[in-house]
Subunit: 343 residues, 4 copies
């Protein structure tokens, strides 16, 4: 941490900062410039005590130097983590494709979807039992009934299941029925939930919040690891921006960045990331190319009849096209423009 | 809802949409233009079934017409609501000032702050017992101990208390100790928590999420009213934007807009809204001027020693200045530029 | 500037940075911590050479310490600037109200508007001759004809005129007809235009770009001052965010911040800032309360027939209401909640 | 266009809207629902006259139905356009790689870079002669001298050259020296410049503005086509969001969307899009995978000595790695999770 003193800071103010840095458990190192003085806090002290100095007299800004996360960091663990979800390795060699409906709506809907996505090559099944919906008047999910259907689909298809948990109260029952628990984007900083999930022995899929920086996302994951659960997979699903043609702005560079900063596997969700059926194949390819360890894609037997997220859901044929798209090679580079005689 | 058919939609596709609109409980009204056809869904049907038609063949877009919220709307209840918090009326004639520390850190800290803010004119006390913190390594609040201190401060000062609830599990204990429960910005769409708070007999302060549109914010409040709790106060506390000089961008126009769209009282939080001590007086004045029913302001005996939010906390003298600032008159309008002979 | 070395930086890499800091004209000051080393660049050197070190081997980040702007800064000139526009002082005691249509559409339209806004208390007239329009098929302004009408309106009403300049080629002709030249939000970083306007002897109104930070805005103003024109007024007119209910998000705290950082006058534009007739009175009050030195408001004889910006334009009666609104006192603070026996 | 009347609209207000729609050159079609009436404007009239009705009495909202752009649209021209830049086809089968320094700094710097990027497989050369810089104190480009060096590099390497134009006044001289003119992101809505470039016989590279929606970007391109120049290539280079770890948020889904909506070629700029050397290889791969017709990448002989954009520039070895990265195959899909006995 660096405390950047104002140009008009007095000697007394600088002395006060030096003392406060010592009190906070750091060693102060002073650099006096022509116009201003900076004081570095060196060592391992209480970070927040330095942050609060921002309002001490004579201080202009306090500048953090080190990243605030630890256990999720590649500086702590350079090798990549692999998370095992009911036999599927996320973070290993291949790209894991998780597919299924936004919401579990009925036994027939889910079982047929599970078979279809498996046939097309998916290796995990998704389906919402408890649904976070913007409006209280929208379909809120079938709850425990959906969990039972998910379990049946898993048993029948062999595909491990991930489903969203919205409340600490539902953690136990979901753990009984699913192989992986998803924290939805709007709950990324529901710290009570994170603390509870840190204590379970199941992998967690942590979606990035719609207004979370990569740093905040990794700190949310840090809650899980610090609490004892290191089976964590990150999922980029788009952030809120001014663009209105798409539901969210899928931040694919953040997938690469999160994999640079953290050893945890990172997957992408092109369905929420774009909100548009027509873009999912192209964006899925891009996610794989940028390094994502997996994809999460919404599939429904008849999207125009879906109880939620219809506009971004693929039908079975659409999903097969996506699977073919991510297997097809990249476009080649154009050959040199220069005519032979020039070059 | 309006279904806007593509220019190349076939008659069969249009017929299909007409049927689906009927199935969804609406009456279809068709308008055929030169280039395209639009089909309006008239009446009260199942909204999501029309939304999902966005992916039906031949459909270009589905355009909602009516606002999705009901009970919070001024169309349903034109007169403004007043929420009574332990004897303080929010939404009445005067501006309610809620002040206190970000976190309850000790008995002395809270009691002295309560006395100081009361003396300066505050009518409610704030203080966090359960703290949502970006990092798991930051101070997480004193929990029940803090609740007891809050209650003592209330008894001593007479100021009703608002404190944040982060989990359904803490609702009961907080209800016993505080006059009002706050839903923090990051929990605005924690629907499990909203559903639980809809069943209590205490007022709720609902902060706007950092990436929530005004519409989403009002729909979150709709969860509370639809569930039976109409003692709801909205709080604008800044949204996330690209601007980095301030912690958030306080959307003061949204205060006016929310009061236009909804009958619920709306207050503003200049502390989180700016993150900067030096801006709080000016922004508090602006919030009052735009029509806010109250202000929520962080005050600490010694901000540079605060365990959380020091940089945006005022000391007692700073808070007194803010109280004077919101009482001082607006700057007058410059007199006409025109020299007498011209006008 | 501080160069923050990676934890794994070698001695050789640190030595290289020390040399490069010297080369760039600064003095290097080294602080060695337990985990990492930081090197401060002290003095006045070539800033960009230090910035580029971000990609030197062993460097984690480069952190700027001082603000990059100079002449616009209050550190250089602590007292507030007052800009004289044809006899109207912007930045003085009173709030300057600039009103008029988005576009000059006809002689009658402008002259009647000038009279109406003057009668209501405006002290300057606005009106677009050259219009930046998102679509090439929209009305692009009357050009020179509009400039002549503006001059006539000024002569008749005595109100000094501000109008937008979109191109270096129009600077001379606009200087002949208007008292102040406006740089529109989308041209805030049209540096060719800024450099040209730095050479004229007329005041410039510099709107904040829709995605410009306060720092970038002040640096755009710095182009004008550095080039020789210090008659500059800043105008906050809203930034782009995810919120869609309003045209822009008016960043009123940025008005206070810009006035803290810079000595230049700052005004606000509630018309573009909200895009909504119904919010302009409340938001204008807020702008005055936050400290704005003026307001810029769109007024049209018949907004529903305006060739541009109709939805955010006020008619004459609406403008009179705004003028009354900014003159009315602030709502008082609610009296204490505490019953007498408790307090 | 649809005019959505308020629930409380009177018959007289509805009649007024019907008349105004006729006046604007459209046919009105009325749909009366239980709660509200909507009036569609059918045909080809004056769009802005309907937009302005938003403030007519009794109107709640005006909802556009058709996209506002025409000539750039695939509805007008379904087949993809190919733009020929000095013999290089952008929009054809292969991905065009444009590489070179941010700024032309010297003859040696540019010539060596041209040779290096050509050797690695680039087919076009970039280099700034006129530089848009946030601060007036930063390097502003070598101007005409740089243009001459660019021409020499083109002659020597055979790579066609693209360079940025910042002002109408520089259009002619740049046309003499470069094969393609770039409109920078901050000038995307510099309409005077766009109108001038619409009249030249050279291809234009139009960067997306940092706060421009895809719709606004296509409308900026529409200025060029409507003015007579259809040799236009679009370039996504990142938008401004709250994320601070990267310089911009590269919106790769927008590349796919722009190619869906428009027939124009679309390329991506991972250098500005991320601002981070370390992410460019991964993001370049993603851009190719999402369907980009080309890449624009900053390369410098020694990024830590670059006069601009050093932190996002690659050295020659780094650029070679990117070229290899975009040629390497996509990661395969993980094989099914289900053990044989279960499936």
């Amino acid at each position: 941490m660096i405390v950047n003193m104002s140009e008009r800071a007095t000697d007394q103010e600088i002395t006060h900062i030096i003392e406060r840095i010592r009190e906070a458990g750091y060693q102060p190192h002073v650099t006096r410039g022509v116009e201003r003085t900076i004081v570095a806090a060196v060592g391992n002290g209480r970070r927040h005590e330095i942050e609060a100095l921002q309002v001490a007299p004579g201080v202009e800004t306090v500048v953090p130097i080190a990243q605030p996360f630890k256990l999720v960091s590649r500086q702590v663990k350079p090798e990549r983590s692999v998370v095992n979800v009911g036999g599927v390795a996320i973070g290993g060699l291949g790209v894991v494709v998780i597919a299924g409906p936004c919401s579990v709506e009925s036994r027939e809907q889910l079982l047929s979807t599970a078979q279809a996505v498996k046939r097309a090559g998916a290796t995990m099944l998704r389906g919402g039992a408890y649904k976070p919906r913007t409006s209280p008047y929208d379909f809120q999910g079938l709850g425990i009934e959906a969990l039972k259907i998910l379990r049946e689909a898993r048993d029948e298809s062999g595909l491990p299941v991930v489903t969203e948990v919205m409340s600490t109260e539902d953690v136990d029952i979901i753990c009984e029925h699913a192989e992986m628990l998803q924290v939805g984007a709007r709950n990324m900083q529901n710290f009570a939930l994170l603390r509870r999930l840190a204590t379970i022995n199941k992998p967690v899929l942590l979606k990035r919040g719609p207004s979370a920086t990569v740093k905040e996302w990794l700190l949310a994951a840090e809650y899980l690891l610090a609490g004892g659960n290191n089976q964590v997979v990150l999922c980029e699903r788009g952030i809120k921006t001014f663009e209105t043609e798409m539901r969210n702005t899928l931040d694919l560079a953040a997938v690469a960045l999160a994999r640079d900063l953290s050893h945890l596997p990172v997957i992408a969700d092109p369905s929420h990331g774009t909100g548009k059926q027509s873009l999912i194949a192209a964006v899925s390819r891009a996610a794989v190319a940028v390094g994502a360890d997996g994809l999460m894609i919404e599939v429904h037997p008849c999207p125009e009849r879906a109880l939620s997220d219809g506009p971004q859901s693929l039908d079975f044929a659409g999903f097969e096209k996506v699977m073919r798209a991510i297997a097809s090679p990249l476009r080649g580079v154009a050959v040199s423009a220069a005519p032979a005689e020039v070059a």
